[in-house]
Symmetry: C2
Subunit: 112 residues, 2 copies
């Protein structure tokens, strides 16, 4: 995903909250209803629903309402975008350290 | 790092902006002065400095002022916390899929 992608903004923003991270972790065990997800938190339903919507807008989860129950499910594919971005950063440093290593070797050769 | 860690909040928040991600990418090539980092952006210095401070507060970069020049440097160690968190999530899904696989096998055995 492009570094400028607004999608990365919404994903990282969704990760930047411990309640939302806890919901994602819970959904890693399988789908769950909003009320089950909300149970461990000392939080009214409207602010909790806001967290759910933030996760849904970021594409990290999907939700489906059947009757009066809204069920949430994790969408692991979105994590790949973040992992790719982190991997690119790592590759960049690795390439820089290789270049510094080469430079150091050249300087040592000159000293001999 | 603990899922509830406020440190993860500040790191993910720092990542949730394309200007800050671009600064991190540039710093992957080596240290740079704030004015060099700001050059590619059509942005006044005060809002740009705010981005720099957000990255510094998250521990993703360190800065040092010598004379009138503030130089920024990447702190790759902080990325490890994010990578660990993502890895934990992946391991959780993997464990869930293994359990589902086993369940499917058991159901198939029963059918025989």
């Amino acid at each position: 995903m492009d570094n400028n992608s607004p999608e990365l903004d919404t994903i990282f923003l969704a990760f930047a909250d411990s309640t939302r991270r806890a919901v994602l972790r819970r959904l890693g065990d399988g789908p769950a209803s909003v009320s089950d997800l909300a149970a461990p938190f000392d939080m009214a339903l409207p602010p909790f629903m806001k967290h759910i919507r933030t996760l849904e807008n970021a594409g990290l989860i999907t939700t489906e309402k059947v009757g009066r129950v809204r069920t949430c499910e994790l969408n692991p594919e979105k994590y790949a975008a973040v992992e790719d971005w982190l991997k690119e950063q790592r590759q960049q440093w690795a390439s820089r350290y290789r270049k510094l290593d080469q430079l150091l070797k050249q300087l040592k050769e000159k000293d001999k």
